[in-house]
């Protein structure tokens, strides 16, 4: 039986992530944990997150999770969700500007102010993802919609790491991958069929670009 750990750094709603994984991972043991040793021991790891990046990074350091995430990336599949995507980049403009984990190349920026009211912030709702080939998109229609809710976006500087692009005033990275790592800006656990399919693909993925 494979074990899947959802990293808990106190950001609230992990129930949905756990429920969605249980729904697609027949018989897997799914646990929520803030203990690095449990994260490192799992077969695969989910790195979710919502709220503000500053408190997320603080919690990562307070629990000793920074090193655990580093170890996981080199050894087993890791799925980042929302803030779990943004935290992997070099720097974020949120919370007055903050250095992040620096695993992926690029920066996290705030959406431009709505101005004429055309674009609301947060970017909230179902938007399309223009997919670049990756095994985790298997069985999901090109351009399928996923549920987003965020005010900051990823501006990648390494095109090879971009596997999904979405338009919202700007064109931003909505999915990124490198080796065992796959991370998305949207919430697959809230994206109905397409989201569940992506989670199912992750649960059966061996990592390292498939």
């Amino acid at each position: 039986m494979q074990s899947i750990v959802v990293i808990d750094f106190g950001s609230g709603n992990l129930h949905s992530v756990r429920k969605a994984i249980e729904h697609v991972a027949n018989g897997a043991s799914v646990t929520v944990s803030n203990r690095p040793e449990e994260v490192v021991a799992a077969d695969r790891v989910i790195f979710p997150g919502q709220g503000a990046i500053g408190s997320c990074l603080q919690a990562i350091d307070a629990t000793g999770m920074r090193q655990a995430i580093g170890e996981v990336i080199t050894s087993k599949p890791l799925l980042g969700i929302c803030l779990g995507l943004q935290a992997l980049y070099e720097h974020s403009e949120e919370d007055g500007g903050i250095d992040c984990l620096g695993v992926l190349a690029g920066r996290v920026k705030r959406f431009p102010a709505p101005g004429d009211g055309a674009l609301k912030i947060p970017h909230m709702g179902w938007n399309q993802v223009d997919q670049n080939p990756h095994p985790l998109w298997s069985g999901i229609e090109q351009g399928a919609r996923f549920y987003f809710v965020h005010s900051y976006y990823v501006d990648s500087s390494e095109l090879a790491e971009v596997v999904g692009v979405t338009q919202y005033g700007v064109s931003f990275t909505s999915a990124a991958s490198r080796g065992n790592l796959f991370a998305v800006q949207f919430h697959p656990e809230k994206s109905q069929h397409s989201g569940l399919k992506l989670l199912e693909n992750f649960v059966g993925w061996d990592g390292a670009d498939g």
């Binding site: 950001s11 609230g12 709603n13 129930h15 949905s16 429920k19 969605a20 729904h23 919502q50 709220g51 503000a52 102010a113 709505p114 009211g117 609301k120 912030i121 947060p122 970017h123 909230m124 709702g125 179902w126 938007n127 399309q128 351009g143 919609r145 549920y147 987003f148 809710v149 965020h150 005010s151 338009q167 919202y168 919430h187 656990e189 809230k190 994206s191 109905q192 989201g195 569940l196």
Partner: protein, 256 residues
């Protein structure tokens, strides 16, 4: 192509049971929130909103159980409103599986509560529900906030209030016209448009939907980011999918 406009069915829940008579022909238990949520999910609802109208606070725990059950089966965003008065109430709903909570009366009574809730839980999960009623007509209409189901005036200007709630960190406004609610005559479009054009956060239009064209008007004339309706879906007059096809035919981007 880009962000789709959302359609959100709304369910009133009393003591753990859906009320206002949901009438799907082939549903076994018309009062079961899980069964109804599953149906709307199948029809393509973009989100679901549950309003807890349970009168007694002793029975509030029932709603937690409903949210847990629905969240275990339906994988679209869930908003829960009714009786949310403290940060603890917000956390309890989020931990049960809600994605957002709607705050109404408590925001009017203690506006700082909205700031506390967004500081603690993030803007993305705090919806401020605003019940507005027109108080002056003519060329310069004015709307005010009412509480207690539209019976109690507060004297607060609705447009200013929405702006203030956005400044306090609310992630979204759920705007209900108390003049239109239950009439089936369509949204209060001037109100909807004023609020949507004023705040920089998404706005859900609510109150008055009686046919599918009203949903179209809410987006095109009201500038709403999402439309919420109850009775047209509950009485099986229309499915969510029909509503989306109608909006798409009017040139509105939807998720189909």
């Amino acid at each position: 192509m880009g962000l789709a406009k959302r359609i959100i069915p709304c369910l009133d829940v009393d003591n753990g049971r859906v009320v206002k008579g949901v009438q799907f022909v082939d549903i076994r238990d018309a009062g079961d929130p899980v069964e109804i949520a599953r149906r709307y999910d199948q029809e393509g609802a973009d989100e679901l909103t549950f309003l807890d109208i349970t009168a007694s606070s002793d029975n509030r725990g029932t709603m937690i159980h409903v949210v847990e059950q629905v969240a275990g089966e339906v994988f679209i965003p869930l908003t829960v409103g009714g009786g949310i008065r403290k940060v603890d109430d917000v956390l309890r709903m989020l931990n049960a599986g809600a994605d957002k909570v709607a705050i109404n009366t408590a925001a009017v009574a203690h506006p700082e509560f909205v700031r506390q809730a967004t500081d603690h839980c993030g803007s993305q999960c705090i919806v401020v529900a605003v019940d507005a009623k027109q108080v002056t007509g003519g060329d310069t209409p004015r709307w005010e906030i009412f509480t207690h189901g539209g019976r109690k005036a507060t004297g607060i200007d609705a447009i200013e209030w929405c702006r203030r709630m956005a400044d306090y960190g609310a992630g979204e406004i759920l705007l209900t016209s108390m003049d239109r609610d239950g009439t089936r005559n369509g949204f209060d479009l001037p109100l909807t448009r004023r609020v949507c054009d004023t705040v920089e956060i998404p706005v859900i239009a609510s109150g008055g939907v009686g046919n599918l064209n009203h949903l179209v008007e809410g987006v095109i004339e009201g500038h709403a980011d999402a439309v919420l309706a109850a009775s047209i879906f509950h009485f099986a007059e229309h499915t969510v999918e029909e509503a989306k096809r109608c909006m798409q035919a009017a040139g509105i981007e939807v998720r189909l």
